[in-house]
């Protein structure tokens, strides 16, 4: 049972990617109902609260924090195995607030996404530092857009060249796990645009294999963690 909470308030992409554009949030006695993609996958996003795709959420920090609090307090997720929180880029209000508001809950950790080039890694190192500062465990790093295989000649190109060793080197230096590398596949963008599951649409793609391996590693981390927790109790 999975819950996906989109706290990118200014750029809520999750509804579109899940094929839920145009859906609205319903309120009941027990709170806000998430929008379900499938029986075991519920989603919440500010996107569901906007009436038009052109509506802009032009809010300063405090108002964004208020909505995040509401999301955490009022959404009736039911019993869930995984709550995944998608964040905007940065180390600011949304990030501080979500960590603060989830303080009483057990947060397994953060998965950090980067692309291979130094200008991306530069910012990701800051994000890792942020996690250390707020005592958020880092489950690991995913290197996205890692290489492209030409569909015609099958040669691989590094479109975002890892001039400083990519995520691999950075993870070594910072002693965090590299969960995996996901290659570029035009089908990924297409699936997201159509709101379809890339994993279902392109089960044989090298990107799918990468995703699945990364997801497995995350699950293993979470399982290990819980086991350790239970041992302590």
């Amino acid at each position: 049972q999975v819950a996906l909470l989109d706290i990118d308030i200014c750029g809520p992409s999750i509804p579109k990617m899940m094929g839920l554009e145009g859906e609205q949030v319903h309120q009941s006695g027990s709170g806000w109902s998430p929008v379900y993609v499938e029986e075991n996958l519920g989603v919440m996003s500010v996107g569901f609260l906007l009436s038009s795709p052109d509506d802009a959420v032009i809010w300063r920090g405090p108002k964004k924090n208020g909505l995040i609090k509401q999301f955490l307090r009022d959404v009736d997720w039911g019993e869930i195995d995984y709550l995944i929180v998608d964040t905007p880029p940065g180390t600011s209000d949304e990030h501080l607030s979500i960590v603060q508001y989830l303080g009483a809950a057990h947060v397994d950790g953060a998965v950090i996404i980067t692309t291979p080039q130094e200008v991306s890694l530069q910012d990701v190192r800051k994000e890792i530092n942020f996690c250390h500062k707020v005592k958020l465990p880092v489950i690991g790093v995913v290197e996205n857009m890692s290489g492209f295989v030409c569909p015609k000649c099958k040669n691989e190109s590094q479109i975002f060249p890892p001039t400083t060793g990519g995520a691999e080197k950075m993870c070594q230096n910072l002693n965090v796990s590299l969960l995996g590398k996901v290659p570029l596949d035009p089908q990924i963008g297409k699936s997201c645009d159509k709101g379809q599951s890339f994993l279902s649409e392109a089960p044989e793609s090298p990107a799918t294999l990468s995703y699945r391996s990364i997801i497995q590693r995350i699950q293993e981390y979470c399982d290990q963690h819980h086991f350790q927790e239970e041992k302590i109790i």
Binding site: I9, C10, G11, S13, K16, M17, P53, D54, D55, A56, V57, I58, W59, R60, G61, P62, K64, P88, P89, G90, T91, S92, D93, H95, L96, T115, Q117, E118, V119, Q122, D123, R125, K126, E127, N129, F130, K133, V134, F148, C150, P151, K152, C153, N155, S157, Q158, I159, F160, P161, T163, T164, L184, P186, G189, K190, C192, D193
Partner: protein, 266 residues
């Protein structure tokens, strides 16, 4: 007392609703292209959490100095044709995270807009983080008295990106910021081995959005690993790769900016 922005002829904002679409890349390339057209350019980097501009010019280790009238921007070359200001220069260590809430960010942005001694510039390019929040509201408010030329919006071709950039357009409308046009970045990849073009991030979304919103379409910039490489190494792509597939597009965008600016001046 004369404002620090009094000597700046044109102010341009580079915006996007979405992260990772290449705003900083486009800001950098635009600055280089304008420099090649003989203009003096400044870049103000108001992405406080992820300041990429210093590295793109290879000056990430520079420090910022204060003079009597304010902060001295960092010049990227001896000609002093491009100058920069970024929080990147103020960090003790490059990996230091700026973990600030809105009010603190707003205060620094006000300072960046008001206290940098830019001198005489033809163009000041303001590079922003993705979104429509504190940085954007504060920057537009602080720049309003200086009548910016307008904003360039960057998107990648696919619908997920365009979906956020539509909201950025609304931001511009609501804050009465003129939209100079839309750039569709990462628009197609030409395989260096066989020249086959693949639309990795789809195609056409930026152009469609421009049509739908009634704003100029400034052009498609293809994915070019040489461009990425140059930026990584702080080199002048425009100078080194005039034969690259991205060059004509970038030069064309710069030309449209120049035309727009001279129209406005006259």
């Amino acid at each position: 007392e004369r404002s620090h922005l009094a000597g700046v002829r044109h102010i341009l904002l580079v915006l996007s609703g979405k992260g990772g679409v290449g705003k900083s890349t486009i800001s950098t390339e635009l600055a280089l292209a304008l420099r090649h057209a003989g203009k003096k350019v400044g870049i103000l980097d108001v992405d406080l959490c992820g300041p990429t501009i210093p590295r793109m010019f290879g000056v990430q280790d520079s420090d910022v100095h204060q003079c009597d009238s304010g902060w001295v921007p960092v010049f990227v070359d001896q000609d002093k044709s491009i100058s920069l200001m970024s929080i990147g220069f103020l960090l003790e260590k490059p990996d230091d995270a700026v973990v600030w809430r809105g009010p603190k960010k707003n205060a620094l942005i006000k300072q960046f807009v008001g206290d940098v001694a830019w001198g005489d510039l033809d163009f000041l390019i303001v590079d922003t983080p993705p979104g429509t929040s504190d940085e954007h509201i504060s920057t537009v408010e602080a720049l309003r008295p200086y009548k910016p030329l307008g904003a360039i919006l960057v998107t990648t071709p696919q619908a997920v990106s365009v979906g956020d950039v539509r909201r950025e357009l609304t931001f511009c409308k609501k804050t009465r910021l003129r939209v100079l046009g839309i750039v569709e970045n990462m628009s197609g990849f030409v395989c260096p081995h066989c020249s086959e073009c693949t639309n990795i991030f789809s195609k056409g979304g930026g152009e469609e959005l421009a049509k739908h919103a009634g704003v100029p379409f400034l052009g498609c910039v293809p994915l070019d690993p040489q461009l990425s490489q140059s930026l990584e190494e702080g080199r002048d792509f425009i100078q080194e790769f005039p034969k690259s597939s991205a060059f004509p597009a970038l030069a064309h965008i710069a030309q449209q900016i120049l035309d727009g600016a001279s129209q406005r001046s006259s």
